[in-house]
């Protein structure tokens, strides 16, 4: 490898969703910054698909303390206090950045950003741009990115972090043709988003394959609470090949009601106070239970109904939902939707400090790939805020970090090359491995879990990991690397789920009976790294 084959920069940002682009914008103030995306910046990731909104305290009658309490309670008190304090305090400031850069949010007659109620919150603090809030943010962020000096490399897939001793010094990537690209950086920011594509039914875009968890883990970083998977209560069930597609919480925020096949508004049996606007873990379990008890719809969901709302409200506030369902033959103004839970968000992830440092030098992380902000259940509207608050912090910390005298380790590069060569000589279609994995995860590590089911899933993952993946051409090498990452991410989820012998937030262990509620749990984070794993005990005064 000649030195001129290596891209050099001060900050390397991996990922082009809300967190990655925000980090790159910030980092560019401190030095040469590269943003590498496996899709096209602005199109990839899940931010652009986020429909509902962005939580921020903007009114006198609301307060950061209430937002903090809502977030902690919603997260079953597994969240990191300090990270949540930062989230609620800085979300309004980051919203102002977006507004200054041209974001077009809905506004009130007083020209203030409009807000709507979302689940698990005592104040309607979810800011929105119709039901395409994330798209509006991405358009704004990419606009801003264009005005900075950030070098954007699209359709380049990062396959591993590079290390010099204990320090991360950049990353190895594959371009569209399957050529190896090496990038050397003083600081590297992982902003690769989530990974619920490891499940059969998921809301995630093609990029939600958990690459960040996997490359971070392989590089030696520690991850926490990987068992905490948010199943969004409302995913589409038809057409079958598009199952799992997100039906935004805004539908319920605007007044949509859930009914089973008997026409019963069943949430009254699960959370009579908050009804449809209970937290996502509660609503998802309620829907799953109704379906398991045989009260599901013909396509295997429950009904989500907005037909009682004025047509104009549906058209103005839920235009994307209206358009999507019309395409699939359902006019939501006159007919109910059919919905069922779908794997949506990973609350766990890389352990970070308030400065977004991971547990290894040179590596920073922000957005969904991190753990600790959302605890055991994320509130709707907190993820978009998370991307901006911690995206900025990661970019700033990575940018401010000094230059490092680091070298690319040739032995590591040789290992990467030989892994790639083996894929060209493999024998199994990676698409088939993905399908087996997704089924195993949905069956073994879904909404309701038991140790035997989790062990069985882990066994399947271990077996799948021994299969020799085949790259049909060099262009298919990235697919093989991604499948390897999906397998590793899935195993981290299952290992975390086995470590947490309690039900908490989104994680439900049906085989464990416990005498505590979340606020008095004896446990804190589960943790996993190449060198250790376990569950932290709560230290109470």
């Amino acid at each position: 490898m000649r030195s001129d084959d290596v891209l050099l920069c001060h900050v390397l940002v991996i990922g082009s969703g809300g967190a990655g682009v925000r980090a790159a914008i910030e980092a560019s103030q401190y030095g040469e910054t590269l943003l590498v995306s496996k899709t096209i910046a602005g199109k990839g990731g899940c931010t652009t698909m986020a429909e509902g909104g962005y939580n921020a305290v903007l009114r006198e009658s609301d307060s950061c303390d209430v937002h903090f309490e809502d977030t902690m309670k919603g997260g079953a008190y597994l969240n990191d206090n300090e990270l949540v304090q930062i989230l609620v305090k800085e979300a309004p400031e980051r919203m102002n950045d977006l507004l200054r850069w041209g974001a077009v949010f809905d506004v009130t007659t007083e020209c203030e950003v409009a807000q709507r109620p979302f689940g698990g919150q005592r104040f309607p603090r979810t800011c929105y741009a119709g039901d395409r809030t994330g798209h509006e943010m991405m358009m704004t962020l990419v606009d801003r990115l264009d005005s900075t000096g950030v070098g954007v490399h699209n359709e380049i897939t990062i396959i591993d972090l590079l290390k010099d001793g204990d320090t991360v010094c950049g990353a190895a990537a594959l371009d569209r043709k399957g050529e190896l690209v090496l990038i050397k950086a003083d600081s590297t920011v992982v902003a690769t988003g989530g990974g619920t594509k490891v499940y059969d039914i998921s809301t995630n875009s093609s990029s939600g394959t958990g690459d960040g968890y996997a490359i971070g883990y392989r590089a030696g970083a520690e991850l926490i609470d990987m068992e905490q998977i948010q199943f969004h209560p409302t995913g589409a069930v038809y057409p079958y090949d598009a199952r799992g597609r997100l039906v935004t919480e805004a539908v319920r925020g605007e007044g949509g009601v859930l009914k089973n096949s008997l026409g019963e508004r069943f949430m009254s049996a699960y959370d009579p106070e908050r009804m449809e606007l209970s937290t996502r873990d509660v609503v998802a379990r309620a829907i799953a239970t109704e379906i398991l008890e045989g009260k599901g719809t013909p396509h295997g969901g429950v009904y989500l109904d907005v037909t009682h709302l004025p047509r104009s409200q549906i058209e103005a506030r839920l235009p994307v939902m209206l358009e999507q369902f019309l395409k699939f033959g359902v006019d939501i103004r006159t007919e109910p939707m059919e919905v069922a839970p779908t794997a949506h968000h990973i609350m766990g992830g890389l352990r970070i400090t308030p400065q977004c440092e991971t547990t290894i030098p040179g590596l920073y992380a922000c957005g969904e790939v991190t753990g600790g902000v959302h605890g055991a259940n994320r509130l709707g509207g907190n993820a978009l805020a998370d991307t901006q608050v911690f995206g900025k912090r990661a970019g700033e910390a990575a940018g401010k970090a000094g230059t490092r005298q680091v070298c690319i380790d040739n032995a590591q590069v040789d290992t990467i090359r030989s892994t790639l060569d083996n894929y060209l000589k493999g024998d199994t279609n990676p698409s088939h491995v993905i399908r087996s994995l997704q089924t195993a995860m949905w069956e073994g590590a879904g909404i309701f879990r038991t140790a035997p089911d989790l062990e069985k899933a882990l066994g399947i993952i271990s077996h799948l990991s021994t299969i020799r993946l085949k790259a049909a051409s060099p262009e298919n090498l990235a697919e093989c690397c991604i499948v390897r990452n999906m397998l590793l991410t899935a195993s981290l989820i299952v290992r975390g789920a086995l470590l947490r012998k309690e039900s908490r937030g989104a994680h439900v262990r049906k085989d464990v009976t416990q005498a505590w509620d979340p606020s008095s749990s004896p446990y804190r984070h589960t943790y996993l790294s190449e060198s250790r794993e376990g569950i932290e005990k709560e230290v109470r005064e």
């Binding site: 899940c46 200054r100 057409p239 088939h432």
Partner: protein, 484 residues
């Protein structure tokens, strides 16, 4: 599960001399989208097929392809057996993947003004429809103008208006848009019709920018001449032929009565075509009233952004028909028809002549031994959704050979304002016409007929003229039989 057989465009510029199509049979579930068919090919048949996708829910704009020639989002369009899937009409990277980046990079970002002001609810409402663009570039693929002239393209114009209307942006986007070819749009509406977000770029962005350009004195001189003519004479063209205006009774039983909105072109330039149409209407039982007070519909003003005295013109036209208690107004100019249907609020119904004749049904004409091709006028096909009716009429007289429906270049003020572009698009029509091997070209719009005549050596005729020729031949044969 069901099985679909599909044709897919394959091309690797590095190894292939030219593209080819490959046919695959795949299994997909009920309701599957085009994207799921591509997944099935990739997962089960050929992992080397390249295609781009990301959100799979119509929100990121990564997966636009052409299905049977029409740009669509692969993730939203329902798959059909026998479909052909091709890349967008943009530089192909490989197979169905096109190079989106240069175009997306060319869209202007917002440049924040020093003073920050939140947009008002009114401004937000204006901005929102312009913001829903997902940059899939279906519109860029479909735009005929940017293939023949320097034009930044439909969504670039949308972005310019989005910036112009935002109080937070500090630059003059109108002048910028003029420099990027604002006046080269022919208003063919192709961009709107393929937009997955239904953004009406010609009407809601380009015409608004042109109106703003007009306020800055940036309207093209030729367009200003037209506006002056309408203001002075009520008409957008100078009379070159004697006009006709009266009440026409049908020959036999009266099946219906319509008011005829003649339009400047048929009134003053191509009156013979209009007279042919009147003859066809009379022969088919339609009573026609032609109010003398009617003036230009205003389309040449709206399309070029010169809307100062538009309301007066609209009032005059509406009154002309209302005072005669007319409940159905017939248009035979596609541009007038589209304008009356979309830019007016009329107390009467507007019907194109093709709609009227197919609604009431026509006396069968004689068949002529000719092969014809039909040019879809943009303002009829996309502007009014009229596709089947003219074909129903034409095929009663002659055999029809189809050609792709692409703008001829005569609309949107381009023929007067940017004649080189109009000519280039006209020449592209010549190629398509020749490819069909037809003897004659039929259309149903005075602008198209007038313009295409300059770009083909085949006769160009209106649908109604063709029908009339069928009737004349029928009468001749009947007379011949009688004399035998």
């Amino acid at each position: 599960m069901k099985e679909f057989t599909v044709r897919v465009f394959r091309f690797d510029p590095e190894y292939d001399e030219k593209p080819h199509f490959q046919t695959y049979s795949v299994q997909v579930s009920e309701g599957a989208r085009v994207l799921h068919v591509l997944h099935a090919i990739h997962d089960e048949h050929d992992p080397t097929l390249s295609y781009r996708y990301c959100c799979a829910s119509g929100q990121c704009g990564s997966c636009a392809v052409r299905v049977n020639g029409e740009p669509v989002l692969a993730c939203m369009e329902e798959a059909r057996d026998g479909m052909t899937v091709e890349p967008l009409d943009l530089p192909v990277t490989k197979d169905l993947v096109v190079d989106l980046e240069p175009y997306i990079a060319s869209l202007h970002p917002l440049v924040p003004a020093p003073e920050f002001r939140m947009p008002t609810p009114g401004e937000v409402e204006e901005l929102k429809p312009l913001r829903s663009c997902i940059e899939c570039l279906a519109c860029v693929s479909a735009c005929p103008a940017l293939k023949v002239i320097d034009f930044a393209g439909p969504t670039a114009m949308r972005q310019e208006l989005r910036l112009q209307l935002d109080p937070r942006d500090q630059q003059d986007r109108v002048t910028e848009a003029v420099g990027e070819g604002l006046f080269t749009c022919t208003s063919c509406q192709a961009c709107w019709k393929v937009c997955p977000k239904d953004i009406q770029i010609p009407g809601k962005a380009i015409e608004k920018l042109r109106a703003l350009a007009n306020k800055k004195g940036l309207t093209l001189p030729r367009h200003q001449d037209v506006a002056k003519l309408v203001k002075d004479t009520g008409r957008s063209v100078v009379r070159t032929e004697t006009t006709f205006l009266e009440v026409l009774e049908p020959y036999g039983e009266v099946k219906g009565t319509v008011g005829f909105f003649v339009g400047c072109m048929y009134n003053l330039r191509l009156p013979q075509t209009a007279l042919d149409a009147m003859e066809v209407l009379r022969r088919n039982g339609i009573r026609v009233i032609i109010p003398k007070e009617q003036v230009c519909c205003g389309s040449p003003l709206i399309r070029t952004g010169q809307i100062d005295f538009l309301d007066t013109i609209k009032r005059r036209n509406i009154d002309a028909f209302v005072f005669r208690n007319i409940d159905t107004v017939l248009t035979m100019c596609a541009g007038c028809g589209s304008t009356l249907k979309h830019d007016y609020k009329t107390p009467f119904k507007i019907m194109d002549i093709n709609e009227v004749l197919t609604k009431y049904g026509i006396e069968p004409p004689a068949r002529l031994p000719l092969k014809a091709t039909y040019h879809d006028p943009c303002h009829l096909l996309r502007g009014q959704g009229i596709k089947i009716q003219p074909r129903e009429l034409i095929t009663q007289v002659v055999d029809l050979i189809e050609m792709p429906a692409i703008c001829c270049g005569s609309g949107g003020g381009v023929k007067s304002g940017v004649p080189d572009e109009a000519a280039a698009l006209g020449e592209k029509r010549r190629e398509e016409i020749n490819r069909t091997g037809a003897d004659i070209v039929i259309s149903s719009c005075p602008f198209c007929e007038y313009h295409i005549r300059e770009h083909t050596d085949k006769p160009v005729k209106n649908v109604t003229t063709l029908l009339l020729e069928g009737y004349r031949e029928k009468d001749r044969r009947a007379k011949e039989q009688k004399s035998c």
